[in-house]
């Protein structure tokens, strides 16, 4: 028995550790450091229909126990991802979760329809929560009705299960979660970044060229945990949790809160080996908790 095994719609994960979208490119860079087959899955960078150049620089700024980013969904576009990135990833024994972004429903649907046909894409992650683009992204994630409709439209064309990525920048995240569940989502991933800003001490102007950026890293973990805790008790679809994970204890926290698997974002920048390190540490953590298989921990905070 593999104690770390996790079964989710479309995803048979050898462990619950997944690099988060946007923090791992399309895997090529980290493949130079370790074997990607070790990972539970990989969430690739948001892909849009057309090539996207993203925002002007500076695109990142450091904050207390966190960072802001405003990459602006820069990516090489659907065609390139289908032709080069996904086939390249096929050499690894690892399911791919394709992060799908767009400006309007047509965009999302077009990307989802196509990218879900790639043989190693086992699930989609619908990015309705990117705070760093002018159109598309977050406004789909802040209104329950819009979120639900977009989910349904994408579900109608996708060949693989659809996970919807929620924004924490809302009054009532449970309401959005229920709406995407009603729209047919197979799972939820949460949280995307909190909207934040840092100013330059001398000039007083925003450091990030885009003005605002998305806050991630350990600073946001308490916010993410409480949202996973709340949502997991109100929906019947699984959650992939993220926000500030840096070690195996953080992973256990997210599972306890109600997530079935987790994604690790910013921590990859701090320690590029963080994902394999966590995977190696997990069995011992389970021993310490007298826990046979990791899935037993899911939701224990509210049981």
């Amino acid at each position: 028995m593999n104690r770390l095994q996790v079964e989710l719609p479309g995803l048979s994960l050898k462990n619950p550790i997944i690099p988060a979208s946007g923090c791992f490119g399309f895997g090529q860079e980290y493949a130079k450091l370790y074997d990607l087959s070790k990972l539970g899955a990989i969430m690739i960078k948001a892909t849009t229909l057309e090539i996207r150049k993203g925002n002007p620089t500076p695109r990142v700024a450091e904050t207390s126990s966190g960072m802001l980013n405003a990459i602006g969904l820069q990516n090489p576009g659907l065609a390139h991802v289908m032709e080069y990135e996904l086939p390249w990833l096929e050499q690894y024994d690892v399911p791919i979760i394709a992060n799908v972004a767009g400006t309007d429903t047509t965009d999302y649907v077009a990307v989802a329809e196509k990218i879900s046909t790639a043989p190693n894409v086992k699930a989609l992650e619908l990015n309705i929560s990117c705070p760093n683009v002018k159109c598309g992204g977050i406004q789909f994630g802040t209104d329950p009705k819009t979120a639900s409709e977009l989910t349904a439209a994408v579900k109608a064309v996708s060949k693989v299960p659809v996970y919807v990525k929620l924004s924490p920048n809302v009054t009532n995240i449970v309401e959005i979660a229920k709406a995407v569940e009603a729209g047919g989502a197979d799972g939820i991933t949460m949280i995307n970044t909190l909207i934040g800003m840092r100013l330059h001490p001398k000039t007083g102007k925003p450091i990030i060229a885009n003005g605002t950026g998305g806050l991630s890293g350990p600073a946001v973990k308490p916010v993410a945990i409480r949202m996973v805790y709340d949502v997991s008790q109100q929906v019947n679809i699984p959650i992939i949790g993220m926000g500030g994970i840096t070690n195996a204890e953080d992973v256990i926290d997210f599972l306890s809160a109600g997530a079935s698997a987790v994604a690790v974002g910013t921590a990859n920048f701090v320690d590029p080996f963080v994902c394999p390190n966590i995977i190696d540490e997990l069995p011992q953590k389970l021993d310490e908790l007298n826990c046979e298989k990791i899935s037993d921990l899911v939701g224990r905070s509210h049981r």
Binding site: C23, K45, R59, V60, G217, V270
Partner: protein, 258 residues
């Protein structure tokens, strides 16, 4: 190959106002080959500060498994770094990026190395490698003021060295381009690292020369995965953007839009 290692501090001292010279020992040094590459440093085991700091490799000593970097203790992270004592460990990721192409200067030719402020360090290993190959080097190094000047002696041992200070407190007064205009040196290729206006002025001053420029941008991963550190390219280049961390930090002249 890119490695991560807790390297040990061998020597650490202040060599000018806010400028520190840090020598580390470890296997990772053996991976360093090209001048102009950088390392990504975690200055603390806590999340405060969170991100790594990119610092150029200033000189490599594979025989002793050591390398040296020079850095300015300006912000929170580098100030913490400056507190490290001999024997302490520092978490290093590297070597990263593509450095200065030594092969673009042929034996017997002359290379002009132009550095500004904290852009000076990577030119030192470059100059060492060029001289080792029989390339003559001319060094033009610009600083703010006399208290900021460092490594004059080290560069002088390798070739003609000119110091420029913005306030005239040492060497020639003005910008490096002012001195270059006076000097009008003969050379085959130039290499440079420093503030953007300096890089721009150089490209304009020598429109027909072969040249290589090193750039800076705020980084996330340092590996090419996060798209934080992109720079805009000129029309001459097919890609709209390039990543400073993995495509650079050194680019041939004319590639990056200045």
């Amino acid at each position: 190959m890119i490695k991560q290692e807790r390297m040990k501090v061998v020597r650490h001292k202040q060599i000018a106002d806010d400028i520190f010279e840090l020598t580390l020992i470890g296997q990772l040094s053996l991976e360093m080959k090209q001048p102009g590459q950088f390392v990504h440093i975690r200055v603390s085991d806590s999340f405060e500060p969170l991100l790594r700091r990119p610092i150029s490799i200033c000189s490599i000593d594979p025989e002793h498994m050591e390398f040296t970097m020079l850095y300015r203790a300006g912000g929170r992270g580098t100030k913490l770094l400056s507190l490290k004592q001999p024997g302490d460990e520092v978490d290093i990721l590297g070597p990263l990026g593509n450095g200065f192409p030594v092969e673009e200067a042929n034996t017997g030719e002359t290379a002009l190395l132009v550095g500004g402020g904290i852009g000076v360090p990577p030119l030192y290993e470059l100059s060492k490698q060029l001289n080792a190959k029989g390339v003559r080097t001319i060094h033009v190094l610009g600083f703010q003021s006399i208290n900021n000047v460092f490594y004059e002696k080290q560069f002088s041992e390798l070739g003609e060295t000119y110091i420029v200070t913005a306030d005239g407190s040492y060497g020639t007064k003005g910008f490096v381009t002012d001195l270059l205009a006076q000097l009008n040196p003969e050379f085959d290729v130039f290499y440079s690292c420093g503030p953007l206006p300096m890089l721009k002025a150089l490209e304009q001053t020598y429109p027909d020369k072969k040249g290589f420029l090193s750039f800076e941008e705020r980084m996330g991963c340092g590996l090419g995965a996060c798209y934080a550190c992109v720079c805009k390219t000129t029309d001459a280049v097919e890609n709209d953007y390039l990543k400073v961390c993995s495509d650079g930090p050194v680019f041939p002249r004319g590639v990056v839009a200045l």
